[in-house]
């Protein structure tokens, strides 16, 4: 379970609303390489991991991504807070305003709604962790593009730089988790479906006999 902390992971106080920047940055909320996709991907993949380290890394990074989701939502909210419908329309967010008003809706910069198709869960620890390494790099690259686009506003730039830096640390942790999983899978007598094969092999010996009681 999770407990909400009524504090942002990194402070955000945007003094100058700018809906044009919000239109770009919302991609890190609900876009293909955004924080929602990241958190759901890691938190879903953790169930199938074969060792303790990779379960913990996916659990804890997936949790941190939820804090990043709140940060990106906060940036979008503060960049559009108090703007008139005219200003929102002039920034190219008229379509968005029509359907979502002042809510922060998970969508890409181009307006594509969030889809679970952004999330990779292959049921294979190696494939999943390689996917996660790529996801962190794609998120880093997206933040770098956003940093280029938002160069004029230090209030926006600062949290974006923090978020970019976190992608790099997460990439490092996933690399270490991948090595651990590779070592685990290289151990002798390790079977992904170990429990099932045991119960199948021992079926006759350990049968509960419940059908034979009568």
């Amino acid at each position: 379970m999770w407990t909400y902390n009524k504090v942002l992971q990194y402070p955000i106080n945007i003094k100058c609303p700018n809906a044009k920047l919000a239109k770009f940055i919302i991609s890190q909320y609900g876009g293909p390489d955004g924080e929602l996709a990241a958190s759901l991907r890691y938190l879903s993949q953790r169930f199938g991991m074969p060792d303790q380290k990779s379960k913990a890394v996916l659990n804890d990074i997936g949790t941190e991504e939820l804090a990043h989701l709140e940060m990106v939502g906060t940036i979008v909210h503060q960049l559009t807070d108090g703007l008139s419908a005219e200003e929102i329309k002039a920034a190219g967010l008229g379509d968005y305003y029509t359907d979502h008003g002042v809510d922060v809706y998970p969508q890409s910069a181009a307006g594509t709604p969030f889809t679970a198709a952004y999330i990779a869960c292959k049921g294979d620890p190696i494939a999943n962790l390689q996917e996660d390494l790529a996801a962190e790099q794609k998120a880093r690259a997206t933040y770098e593009k956003l940093i280029d686009l938002c160069a004029d506003d230090p209030d926006v730039l600062d949290p974006l730089r923090f978020l970019r830096q976190r992608e790099i640390v997460h990439f490092q942790r996933f690399g270490e988790a991948l090595r651990g999983v590779q070592d685990k899978l290289a151990e002798k007598r390790f079977y992904m479906n170990n429990m099932n094969s045991n119960s199948n092999n021992n079926n006759n010996d350990n049968d509960c006999g419940c059908e034979n009681k009568n």
Partner: protein, 134 residues
Amino acid sequence: MMNNSNMFGGCSDSITNCNCNYTPQGINAAFGYNTENEAKDTDCGCMQNNDNMETRQEMLNKIRSLNFAIVELGEYLDTHPDDRKALCLHREYTNQYRELTDNYQKVYGPLTIHFPCNKWRWLEEPWPWEGGMC
């Protein structure tokens, strides 16, 4: 923010002298937090007093810094569970975090719903996305 060496200091907590027996401070079990008297004596009155505002913001920044350090160390320890220095730092920061959040919440209201209150102050303080006190 993260470069404030005075705030975090070195890792003074040795492995053999584990300071894990946390004792909550200032809890009045009979009356709980935020009694009327306590509110009168120590409530920040933040709209009137700039000094208290700074103290509140300073405390919140320290809480946020400690929280970040704990998250970062936690992720590192997930793949380096045998790193004693990191484990020691984690222990030191979590102890500081508990003490600081306890003190903060007694005066400025709850940061989580797991904090006992005589009055539901959860509604009174601004939300993180609303700026100002974030």
